[in-house]
Symmetry: C2
Subunit: 297 residues, 2 copies
Amino acid sequence: MMHFADRLIAAVRAKRTPLSVGLDPRWDLLPESIRARHGETLRGRARAYEEFCSRVLDVVAPLVGVVKPQSAFFEACGPAGMTALWQVIRRARRHGLITILDAKRNDIASTAEAYAEATFHVYEADALTINPYLGRESIEPFLKAARPSSRGVFVLTRTSNPGGGQFQDLNCGGKPLHVHVGEAIGEWSRENLGQSGFGDVGAVVGATKPAELRDLRALLPNVLFLVPGYGAQGATAADTASAFRADGTGAVINSARATLFPFKPSDSAWEAAVATATRAAIQELAANTAAARLESA
Amino acid sequence: MMHFADRLIAAVRAKRTPLSVGLDPRWDLLPESIRARHGETLRGRARAYEEFCSRVLDVVAPLVGVVKPQSAFFEACGPAGMTALWQVIRRARRHGLITILDAKRNDIASTAEAYAEATFHVYEADALTINPYLGRESIEPFLKAARPSSRGVFVLTRTSNPGGGQFQDLNCGGKPLHVHVGEAIGEWSRENLGQSGFGDVGAVVGATKPAELRDLRALLPNVLFLVPGYGAQGATAADTASAFRADGTGAVINSARATLFPFKPSDSAWEAAVATATRAAIQELAANTAAARLESA
């Protein structure tokens, strides 16, 4: 099987957009018709999330190469939510999409192995977001599980939330903590480069911090970036431009709310219009991203 | 309902030991008879974990006040594993035990809210371990969910793994990162102190680093410590002593492997002997911890 980075780059190239659709189903934003059909029990919510994400997947599969399911929303539905998550990832894979499970896991030794087992062999995602606080030792079990099956990880580096700098920007011996983390990611990534020149250890860097994004891109030419924050979190397409290398590759730009919910829950036309509204939203985001990427090149 | 810290302190006092039993079911270490009964499918594993943990809970409930289920092992069994986790937490609560869900979650805004919802309202644990890398902003939704229902959180500070210092010990402006995190925990904790004088934001500090443990205890008199690393990870009872305040309170010492697996999987006498072996293991650990705590006082 192809190296994870090569698969990701090929998926982006095939769809001519680095856009990733974040699958963050939020009960309050779902169409009322779907909510009414399933009801607000844990199981009902889980089924509503599965139905909603499945419909979105069917619309977005021809348009983007990557989707990022957010584990937390499924977990909040109890065990039934995990069945829904499993179904959603399976459907995405059948569509040929790369799936990045956003679960921000982290632990050590056999516990990290169990999380990796869950991600790559039970839910069968292509990649997982992980938190670096416990050090290289906590990343190792994820790499050991990911590499034999051409999977990857994305390590939190500089996150998109306004308060993300509290620890990430602390000056540690002349450079911020997130740069120390970035340098470590660079090392881990270089251990296993694909033909594309990128490694299988990526970095999560928020688009809401364009200066940090630019500096990290310069520092880490071989590292894939997963860039959240575009759209609802306030970053513009132009803010995402510096995530790319000069050749226009190397980043996946995630958008959740703007692509999932281009309608009001009360919009009774949703069931018929989902294809149109969601497709239009993605095409607009993709066009803006492409324009920004060209300007940066 | 009583403040989380007061509940925890009362539970420790009632059982006269600060010991917590880590519920980390590992397939390879389970008694062969349980493995054979359920089989190695995901569902079989989940049921074996539930049976094993339930038996352990029945034995340990009269001996300790706190248990710490490790989410990863249940997650690796797929959706059925989450049903098992739910059952195990429910059984622990019926025994009157305080449950700390070790899931090391972290995210921002509504995503963190969803994790808090899952922990406190779906799985109904009393506390959750969380990772500080995303800053105060990512802790806030957990506190907002925990406080109205007298729950708590434990924030990773200096972890027990040998490589935990890679980032946690970086010198940031004259003090290590884990001290910056500790100071922030101290602030968050003081916002809501119980009658015991402890707050509902605790710190995870490994027993494998006794010097750091002592310094953090001196820095954070109002913070509850959750101390892993005792036993299989190499820390001794004496190493845990500095986790306590001079009055002997303020820490929960977790042990998983030594309490869960005081037998070989092939030991055919396990089914009959679990009560004896597990009880003996806990009594020994509790006695050692008590001795260390007295010496520190």
